[in-house]
Protein backbone atom coordinates (compact mmCIF):
# COMPACT_ATOMS: atom_id res chain seq x y z
CA UNK A 1 0.00 0.00 0.00
CA UNK A 2 2.60 2.51 1.16
CA UNK A 3 5.12 1.30 -1.38
CA UNK A 4 2.59 1.53 -4.16
CA UNK A 5 1.57 5.04 -3.22
CA UNK A 6 5.04 6.24 -2.30
CA UNK A 7 5.07 8.30 -5.45
CA UNK A 8 3.20 11.53 -4.68
CA UNK A 9 1.73 11.86 -8.14
CA UNK A 10 0.35 8.35 -8.07
CA UNK A 11 -1.05 9.04 -4.62
CA UNK A 12 -2.67 12.27 -5.68
CA UNK A 13 -4.17 10.57 -8.71
CA UNK A 14 -5.39 7.66 -6.59
CA UNK A 15 -6.77 9.71 -3.72
CA UNK A 16 -8.55 12.12 -6.05
CA UNK A 17 -11.26 9.52 -6.47
CA UNK A 18 -10.48 7.22 -3.53
CA UNK A 19 -11.06 9.89 -0.88
CA UNK A 20 -14.60 10.79 -1.93
CA UNK A 21 -15.36 7.13 -2.49
CA UNK A 22 -14.34 6.28 1.08
CA UNK A 23 -16.47 9.19 2.26
CA UNK A 24 -19.51 7.87 0.44
CA UNK A 25 -18.98 4.35 1.77
CA UNK A 26 -18.60 5.76 5.27
CA UNK A 27 -21.92 7.57 4.98
CA UNK A 28 -23.56 4.49 3.53
CA UNK A 29 -22.43 2.52 6.58
CA UNK A 30 -22.90 5.09 9.30
CA UNK A 31 -26.41 6.24 8.39
CA UNK A 32 -28.03 2.79 8.63
CA UNK A 33 -25.77 1.98 11.55
CA UNK A 34 -27.01 5.02 13.41
CA UNK A 35 -30.60 4.26 12.46
CA UNK A 36 -30.40 0.66 13.67
CA UNK A 37 -28.48 1.77 16.72
CA UNK A 38 -30.91 4.43 17.78
CA UNK A 39 -33.90 2.23 17.12
CA UNK A 40 -32.36 -0.72 18.93
CA UNK A 41 -34.42 -1.89 21.90
CA UNK A 42 -33.24 -0.45 25.19
CA UNK A 43 -30.82 -2.75 26.98
CA UNK A 44 -32.38 -4.45 30.01
CA UNK A 45 -29.40 -3.45 32.12
CA UNK A 46 -28.51 -0.05 30.84
CA UNK A 47 -31.72 1.19 29.31
CA UNK A 48 -31.31 3.65 26.48
CA UNK A 49 -27.84 4.76 27.45
CA UNK A 50 -26.53 1.65 25.75
CA UNK A 51 -26.90 3.56 22.51
CA UNK A 52 -23.84 5.59 23.35
CA UNK A 53 -21.97 2.41 22.62
CA UNK A 54 -22.51 2.84 18.90
CA UNK A 55 -20.65 6.13 19.00
CA UNK A 56 -18.17 5.20 21.64
CA UNK A 57 -16.82 1.80 20.78
CA UNK A 58 -16.07 2.48 17.09
CA UNK A 59 -14.40 5.71 18.10
CA UNK A 60 -12.17 3.77 20.47
CA UNK A 61 -11.33 1.23 17.79
CA UNK A 62 -10.58 3.91 15.23
CA UNK A 63 -8.33 5.81 17.62
CA UNK A 64 -6.10 2.79 18.01
CA UNK A 65 -6.12 2.18 14.27
CA UNK A 66 -5.19 5.82 13.73
CA UNK A 67 -2.16 5.50 15.97
CA UNK A 68 -1.07 2.43 14.08
CA UNK A 69 -1.32 4.47 10.88
CA UNK A 70 0.65 7.31 12.44
CA UNK A 71 3.35 4.93 13.59
CA UNK A 72 3.54 3.22 10.20
CA UNK A 73 3.73 6.46 8.29
CA UNK A 74 6.39 7.75 10.68
CA UNK A 75 8.40 4.61 10.17
CA UNK A 76 8.38 5.06 6.41
CA UNK A 77 9.23 8.74 6.62
CA UNK A 78 12.07 8.03 9.03
CA UNK A 79 13.62 5.02 7.33
CA UNK A 80 12.90 5.67 3.66
CA UNK A 81 12.67 9.46 3.90
CA UNK A 82 9.36 9.47 2.03
CA UNK A 83 8.11 13.04 2.01
CA UNK A 84 4.65 11.68 1.34
CA UNK A 85 4.79 9.35 4.32
CA UNK A 86 5.67 12.33 6.46
CA UNK A 87 2.76 14.30 5.09
CA UNK A 88 0.52 11.31 5.86
CA UNK A 89 1.84 11.12 9.42
CA UNK A 90 1.27 14.82 9.93
CA UNK A 91 -2.24 14.43 8.59
CA UNK A 92 -3.06 11.38 10.72
CA UNK A 93 -2.16 12.84 14.12
CA UNK A 94 -5.01 15.35 14.60
CA UNK A 95 -7.53 12.86 13.27
CA UNK A 96 -6.36 10.22 15.70
CA UNK A 97 -6.45 12.73 18.52
CA UNK A 98 -9.99 13.69 17.57
CA UNK A 99 -11.22 10.10 17.53
CA UNK A 100 -9.48 9.41 20.84
CA UNK A 101 -11.09 12.48 22.33
CA UNK A 102 -14.44 11.28 21.02
CA UNK A 103 -13.92 7.90 22.69
CA UNK A 104 -12.95 9.63 25.92
CA UNK A 105 -15.86 12.03 25.93
CA UNK A 106 -18.54 9.55 24.91
CA UNK A 107 -17.03 7.07 27.32
CA UNK A 108 -17.19 9.40 30.25
CA UNK A 109 -20.66 10.51 29.20
CA UNK A 110 -21.55 6.85 29.36
CA UNK A 111 -19.72 6.40 32.61
CA UNK A 112 -21.88 8.95 34.36
CA UNK A 113 -25.08 6.83 34.22
CA UNK A 114 -23.24 3.50 34.33
CA UNK A 115 -20.68 4.00 37.04
CA UNK A 116 -22.05 7.14 38.62
CA UNK A 117 -18.77 8.88 37.83
CA UNK A 118 -17.47 10.81 34.88
CA UNK A 119 -14.19 9.08 35.20
CA UNK A 120 -12.79 6.02 36.89
CA UNK A 121 -9.22 4.87 36.78
CA UNK A 122 -9.97 1.73 34.88
CA UNK A 123 -7.22 0.16 32.84
CA UNK A 124 -8.85 0.75 29.50
CA UNK A 125 -9.74 4.32 30.26
CA UNK A 126 -6.25 5.07 31.42
CA UNK A 127 -4.63 3.51 28.40
CA UNK A 128 -6.85 5.54 26.10
CA UNK A 129 -5.93 8.66 28.01
CA UNK A 130 -2.26 7.85 27.53
CA UNK A 131 -2.90 7.23 23.86
CA UNK A 132 -4.45 10.68 23.64
CA UNK A 133 -1.39 12.12 25.32
CA UNK A 134 0.85 10.41 22.79
CA UNK A 135 -1.06 12.06 19.96
CA UNK A 136 -0.85 15.36 21.80
CA UNK A 137 2.88 15.03 22.35
CA UNK A 138 3.41 14.27 18.69
CA UNK A 139 1.54 17.35 17.54
CA UNK A 140 3.12 19.56 20.19
CA UNK A 141 6.65 18.48 19.33
CA UNK A 142 6.01 18.89 15.64
CA UNK A 143 4.68 22.40 16.03
CA UNK A 144 7.36 23.44 18.49
CA UNK A 145 10.34 22.87 16.21
CA UNK A 146 10.57 25.69 13.70
CA UNK A 147 12.66 23.90 11.08
CA UNK A 148 9.95 21.81 9.50
CA UNK A 149 12.03 18.90 8.24
CA UNK A 150 13.79 18.57 11.58
CA UNK A 151 10.54 18.77 13.48
CA UNK A 152 9.18 16.07 11.20
CA UNK A 153 12.10 13.76 11.91
CA UNK A 154 11.96 14.19 15.68
CA UNK A 155 8.21 13.81 15.75
CA UNK A 156 8.55 10.65 13.66
CA UNK A 157 11.01 9.26 16.19
CA UNK A 158 8.56 10.04 18.96
CA UNK A 159 5.70 8.33 17.11
CA UNK A 160 7.89 5.30 16.52
CA UNK A 161 8.91 5.06 20.17
CA UNK A 162 5.27 5.44 21.08
CA UNK A 163 4.42 2.62 18.69
CA UNK A 164 6.94 0.35 20.38
CA UNK A 165 5.64 1.46 23.73
CA UNK A 166 1.93 1.23 23.07
CA UNK A 167 1.62 -2.53 23.69
CA UNK A 168 3.82 -2.16 26.76
CA UNK A 169 1.57 0.61 28.03
CA UNK A 170 -1.58 -1.37 27.33
CA UNK A 171 -0.16 -4.46 28.99
CA UNK A 172 1.18 -2.59 31.98
CA UNK A 173 -2.08 -0.75 32.51
CA UNK A 174 -4.06 -3.95 32.38
CA UNK A 175 -1.60 -5.65 34.69
CA UNK A 176 -1.71 -2.70 37.06
CA UNK A 177 -5.48 -2.73 37.28
CA UNK A 178 -5.83 -6.45 37.67
CA UNK A 179 -3.22 -6.35 40.39
CA UNK A 180 -4.90 -3.62 42.33
CA UNK A 181 -8.48 -4.69 42.06
CA UNK A 182 -9.35 -8.12 40.82
CA UNK A 183 -13.01 -7.24 40.50
CA UNK A 184 -12.50 -4.26 38.22
CA UNK A 185 -15.60 -2.49 36.92
CA UNK A 186 -17.42 -5.12 34.93
CA UNK A 187 -18.26 -4.19 31.38
CA UNK A 188 -21.72 -5.04 30.08
CA UNK A 189 -20.02 -6.96 27.30
CA UNK A 190 -22.52 -9.78 27.47
CA UNK A 191 -25.73 -8.07 26.43
CA UNK A 192 -23.88 -5.95 23.96
CA UNK A 193 -23.26 -8.96 21.82
CA UNK A 194 -26.92 -9.54 21.00
CA UNK A 195 -27.33 -9.15 17.20
CA UNK A 196 -29.58 -6.14 17.58
CA UNK A 197 -26.56 -4.43 19.12
CA UNK A 198 -23.83 -6.23 17.27
CA UNK A 199 -24.92 -5.44 13.71
CA UNK A 200 -25.18 -1.67 14.11
CA UNK A 201 -21.98 -1.74 16.14
CA UNK A 202 -20.13 -3.44 13.32
CA UNK A 203 -21.72 -1.12 10.75
CA UNK A 204 -20.61 1.87 12.74
CA UNK A 205 -17.15 0.44 13.24
CA UNK A 206 -16.66 -0.06 9.52
CA UNK A 207 -18.18 3.35 8.83
CA UNK A 208 -15.77 5.04 11.25
CA UNK A 209 -12.81 3.32 9.61
CA UNK A 210 -13.86 4.48 6.16
CA UNK A 211 -14.52 7.97 7.46
CA UNK A 212 -11.04 8.03 8.93
CA UNK A 213 -9.62 6.80 5.63
CA UNK A 214 -11.41 9.51 3.71
CA UNK A 215 -10.40 12.31 6.06
CA UNK A 216 -6.86 11.04 6.19
CA UNK A 217 -6.52 11.15 2.43
CA UNK A 218 -8.07 14.60 2.25
CA UNK A 219 -5.73 16.00 4.89
CA UNK A 220 -2.74 14.36 3.26
CA UNK A 221 -3.68 15.90 -0.08
CA UNK A 222 -4.01 19.28 1.58
CA UNK A 223 -0.55 18.87 3.12
CA UNK A 224 0.96 17.92 -0.22
CA UNK A 225 -0.62 20.97 -1.85
CA UNK A 226 0.65 23.18 0.96
CA UNK A 227 4.21 21.98 0.44
CA UNK A 228 4.01 22.48 -3.30
CA UNK A 229 2.81 26.02 -2.67
CA UNK A 230 5.71 26.69 -0.29
CA UNK A 231 8.37 25.45 -2.68
CA UNK A 232 6.82 27.42 -5.53
CA UNK A 233 6.88 30.52 -3.34
CA UNK A 234 10.54 29.97 -2.56
CA UNK A 235 11.41 29.48 -6.22
CA UNK A 236 9.63 32.72 -7.07
CA UNK A 237 11.44 34.52 -4.26
CA UNK A 238 14.81 33.34 -5.58
CA UNK A 239 13.99 33.95 -9.23
Amino acid sequence: MFAALANPHRFMAFSRWAAPLCGVIALALIVPGLWLGLTAPPDYQQGTTVRIMFIHVPAAWTSMFAYACLGGASFFSLVFRHALADAAAKAAAPLGAAFTLLALVTGSLWGRPEWGAWWVWDARLTSVLVLFLLFLGYMALRSAIDDETKGARNAAILALVGLINLPVIEFSVDWWNSLHQGESILRPGGPAIAPVFLIPLLLMGAGYLFAFGALWQVRTRAEVYRRRAISLEAQLALA
Binding site: V120, L133, A140, S143, A144, H180, Q181
Partner: protein
Protein backbone atom coordinates in the same frame (compact mmCIF):
# COMPACT_ATOMS: atom_id res chain seq x y z
CA UNK B 1 3.95 51.55 26.94
CA UNK B 2 4.33 50.02 23.51
CA UNK B 3 7.70 48.74 24.71
CA UNK B 4 6.02 47.15 27.71
CA UNK B 5 3.43 45.51 25.52
CA UNK B 6 6.11 44.36 23.13
CA UNK B 7 8.09 42.76 25.94
CA UNK B 8 5.00 41.03 27.26
CA UNK B 9 4.19 39.66 23.82
CA UNK B 10 7.77 38.49 23.35
CA UNK B 11 7.88 36.72 26.71
CA UNK B 12 4.52 35.17 25.95
CA UNK B 13 5.74 33.95 22.59
CA UNK B 14 8.84 32.48 24.21
CA UNK B 15 6.80 30.80 26.91
CA UNK B 16 4.23 29.33 24.55
CA UNK B 17 5.52 26.54 22.42
CA UNK B 18 4.30 27.90 19.13
CA UNK B 19 0.79 28.59 20.31
CA UNK B 20 0.57 25.17 21.88
CA UNK B 21 1.22 26.70 25.27
CA UNK B 22 -2.15 26.22 26.96
CA UNK B 23 -2.82 22.93 25.21
CA UNK B 24 0.60 21.76 26.35
CA UNK B 25 -0.15 22.77 29.91
CA UNK B 26 -3.38 20.78 29.78
CA UNK B 27 -1.60 17.75 28.40
CA UNK B 28 1.03 18.02 31.08
CA UNK B 29 -1.60 18.21 33.76
CA UNK B 30 -3.51 15.29 32.35
CA UNK B 31 -0.37 13.20 32.20
CA UNK B 32 0.69 14.05 35.73
CA UNK B 33 -2.81 13.37 36.99
CA UNK B 34 -2.86 10.03 35.24
CA UNK B 35 0.39 9.08 36.96
CA UNK B 36 -1.09 9.47 40.43
CA UNK B 37 -3.51 6.54 40.34
CA UNK B 38 -0.97 4.52 38.40
CA UNK B 39 1.50 4.87 41.23
CA UNK B 40 -0.90 4.78 44.15
CA UNK B 41 -3.69 2.58 42.89
CA UNK B 42 -7.07 3.27 41.34
CA UNK B 43 -9.14 2.75 44.47
CA UNK B 44 -11.30 5.88 44.74
CA UNK B 45 -10.97 6.03 48.52
CA UNK B 46 -7.22 6.12 48.14
CA UNK B 47 -7.26 8.75 45.44
CA UNK B 48 -9.85 11.01 46.95
CA UNK B 49 -7.67 11.86 49.89
CA UNK B 50 -4.67 12.85 47.83
CA UNK B 51 -6.61 14.66 45.13
CA UNK B 52 -6.23 18.25 46.37
CA UNK B 53 -2.68 17.89 47.59
CA UNK B 54 -1.69 16.20 44.39
CA UNK B 55 -3.18 18.90 42.20
CA UNK B 56 -0.87 21.21 44.12
CA UNK B 57 2.31 19.23 43.59
CA UNK B 58 1.56 19.11 39.88
CA UNK B 59 1.02 22.85 39.78
CA UNK B 60 4.19 23.66 41.69
CA UNK B 61 6.18 21.24 39.58
CA UNK B 62 4.85 22.68 36.35
CA UNK B 63 5.86 26.14 37.48
CA UNK B 64 9.35 24.97 38.35
CA UNK B 65 9.66 23.17 35.03
CA UNK B 66 8.76 26.12 32.86
CA UNK B 67 10.57 28.69 34.97
CA UNK B 68 13.85 26.86 34.93
CA UNK B 69 15.40 28.99 32.22
CA UNK B 70 13.32 32.15 32.39
CA UNK B 71 16.38 34.40 32.58
CA UNK B 72 19.21 32.09 31.67
CA UNK B 73 18.59 32.23 27.93
CA UNK B 74 18.54 36.02 27.92
CA UNK B 75 21.69 35.97 29.99
CA UNK B 76 23.56 33.55 27.77
CA UNK B 77 22.70 35.29 24.49
CA UNK B 78 23.22 38.83 25.71
CA UNK B 79 19.57 39.86 25.55
CA UNK B 80 19.67 40.60 29.27
CA UNK B 81 21.96 43.57 28.57
CA UNK B 82 19.41 44.85 26.11
CA UNK B 83 16.64 44.44 28.66
CA UNK B 84 18.73 46.14 31.33
CA UNK B 85 19.34 49.15 29.07
CA UNK B 86 15.76 49.39 27.85
CA UNK B 87 13.13 52.04 28.56
CA UNK B 88 11.69 50.07 31.49
CA UNK B 89 13.46 49.47 34.78
CA UNK B 90 14.55 45.87 35.30
CA UNK B 91 11.97 45.56 38.06
CA UNK B 92 9.22 46.02 35.49
CA UNK B 93 10.93 43.56 33.17
CA UNK B 94 11.05 40.95 35.92
CA UNK B 95 7.39 41.52 36.76
CA UNK B 96 6.37 41.21 33.12
CA UNK B 97 8.38 38.03 32.68
CA UNK B 98 6.64 36.48 35.67
CA UNK B 99 3.24 37.66 34.45
CA UNK B 100 3.84 36.24 30.98
CA UNK B 101 4.87 32.98 32.58
CA UNK B 102 1.67 32.96 34.55
CA UNK B 103 -0.40 33.72 31.49
CA UNK B 104 1.25 31.02 29.43
CA UNK B 105 1.57 28.26 31.98
CA UNK B 106 -0.02 29.15 35.30
CA UNK B 107 -3.45 30.20 34.11
CA UNK B 108 -4.06 27.20 31.82
CA UNK B 109 -2.84 24.88 34.54
CA UNK B 110 -5.18 26.54 37.00
CA UNK B 111 -8.04 26.04 34.57
CA UNK B 112 -7.11 22.39 34.29
CA UNK B 113 -6.70 21.85 38.02
CA UNK B 114 -10.41 21.35 38.85
CA UNK B 115 -10.73 18.65 36.21
CA UNK B 116 -7.65 16.91 37.56
CA UNK B 117 -8.94 17.05 41.10
CA UNK B 118 -12.39 15.84 40.06
CA UNK B 119 -10.90 13.04 37.99
CA UNK B 120 -9.01 11.96 41.08
CA UNK B 121 -12.29 11.85 42.94
CA UNK B 122 -12.51 15.20 44.65
CA UNK B 123 -16.15 16.31 44.94
CA UNK B 124 -17.07 18.55 41.99
CA UNK B 125 -18.34 21.07 44.53
CA UNK B 126 -14.66 21.68 45.23
CA UNK B 127 -13.96 22.86 41.68
CA UNK B 128 -14.46 26.56 42.24
CA UNK B 129 -12.24 26.48 45.27
CA UNK B 130 -9.58 24.47 43.45
CA UNK B 131 -9.63 26.87 40.53
CA UNK B 132 -9.31 29.93 42.72
CA UNK B 133 -6.50 28.55 44.85
CA UNK B 134 -4.69 27.17 41.81
CA UNK B 135 -4.87 30.46 39.92
CA UNK B 136 -3.59 32.45 42.88
CA UNK B 137 -1.04 29.83 43.82
CA UNK B 138 0.28 29.72 40.26
CA UNK B 139 0.78 33.47 40.45
CA UNK B 140 2.86 33.08 43.59
CA UNK B 141 4.82 30.23 42.00
CA UNK B 142 5.51 32.31 38.89
CA UNK B 143 6.94 35.22 40.85
CA UNK B 144 8.90 33.13 43.33
CA UNK B 145 10.17 30.86 40.59
CA UNK B 146 11.19 33.87 38.55
CA UNK B 147 13.19 35.13 41.50
CA UNK B 148 14.89 31.76 41.80
CA UNK B 149 15.71 31.71 38.10
CA UNK B 150 17.24 35.17 38.37
CA UNK B 151 19.25 34.26 41.45
CA UNK B 152 20.65 31.20 39.72
CA UNK B 153 22.10 33.34 36.92
CA UNK B 154 25.76 32.86 36.27
CA UNK B 155 26.30 31.06 39.52
CA UNK B 156 28.24 27.91 38.91
CA UNK B 157 25.73 25.96 40.97
CA UNK B 158 22.50 27.48 39.81
CA UNK B 159 20.43 24.41 40.44
CA UNK B 160 21.39 24.28 44.08
CA UNK B 161 20.35 27.89 44.58
CA UNK B 162 16.98 26.99 43.16
CA UNK B 163 16.73 24.02 45.48
CA UNK B 164 17.78 26.02 48.53
CA UNK B 165 15.94 29.27 47.90
CA UNK B 166 12.95 28.45 45.76
CA UNK B 167 11.73 25.30 47.45
CA UNK B 168 11.46 26.92 50.87
CA UNK B 169 9.75 29.91 49.31
CA UNK B 170 7.34 27.75 47.39
CA UNK B 171 6.35 25.59 50.34
CA UNK B 172 4.25 28.21 52.18
CA UNK B 173 1.80 28.82 49.35
CA UNK B 174 1.57 25.10 48.81
CA UNK B 175 0.71 24.66 52.48
CA UNK B 176 -1.72 27.58 52.57
CA UNK B 177 -3.52 26.53 49.43
CA UNK B 178 -3.51 22.82 50.15
CA UNK B 179 -4.55 23.52 53.71
CA UNK B 180 -7.42 25.71 52.57
CA UNK B 181 -8.48 23.00 50.15
CA UNK B 182 -8.47 20.13 52.59
CA UNK B 183 -10.13 22.32 55.20
CA UNK B 184 -12.82 23.20 52.67
CA UNK B 185 -13.23 19.52 51.88
CA UNK B 186 -13.47 18.64 55.54
CA UNK B 187 -15.98 21.39 56.15
CA UNK B 188 -13.53 23.17 58.44
CA UNK B 189 -12.88 26.93 58.35
CA UNK B 190 -10.79 27.46 55.24
CA UNK B 191 -10.91 31.21 54.76
CA UNK B 192 -7.80 31.97 56.80
CA UNK B 193 -5.65 29.69 54.67
CA UNK B 194 -7.14 31.13 51.52
CA UNK B 195 -6.47 34.69 52.62
CA UNK B 196 -2.95 33.74 53.63
CA UNK B 197 -2.43 32.39 50.12
CA UNK B 198 -3.67 35.62 48.56
CA UNK B 199 -1.50 37.66 50.88
CA UNK B 200 1.51 35.56 50.01
CA UNK B 201 0.87 35.87 46.29
CA UNK B 202 0.54 39.64 46.55
CA UNK B 203 3.67 39.90 48.64
CA UNK B 204 5.54 37.76 46.13
CA UNK B 205 4.27 39.87 43.23
CA UNK B 206 5.42 43.00 45.04
CA UNK B 207 8.80 41.86 46.33
CA UNK B 208 10.17 39.20 43.99
CA UNK B 209 10.64 41.53 41.00
CA UNK B 210 12.76 43.85 43.11
CA UNK B 211 15.14 41.11 44.16
CA UNK B 212 15.06 39.50 40.73
CA UNK B 213 16.09 42.82 39.20
CA UNK B 214 18.93 43.09 41.71
CA UNK B 215 20.06 39.60 40.77
CA UNK B 216 19.97 40.48 37.08
CA UNK B 217 22.07 43.59 37.61
CA UNK B 218 24.66 41.58 39.49
CA UNK B 219 24.64 39.00 36.73
CA UNK B 220 25.30 41.44 33.88
CA UNK B 221 27.83 43.52 35.81
Amino acid sequence: MSALLRLYRRELALAWNGGGGPLLALGFYAAVTALAPLAIGPEPERLRVIAPGFAWIALALASLLSLDRLYERDFEDGALDLLALGPLPLEAVAAIKALAQWTAAGAPLALAAPFAATALGAPPALSGMVLATAAIGALAFAFVGGLGAALALGSRRGGLIIAVIVLPLITPPVIFGGGALSAFTGGLPWLSGFLALIAYALAAAALCPLFAAMACRTAVS
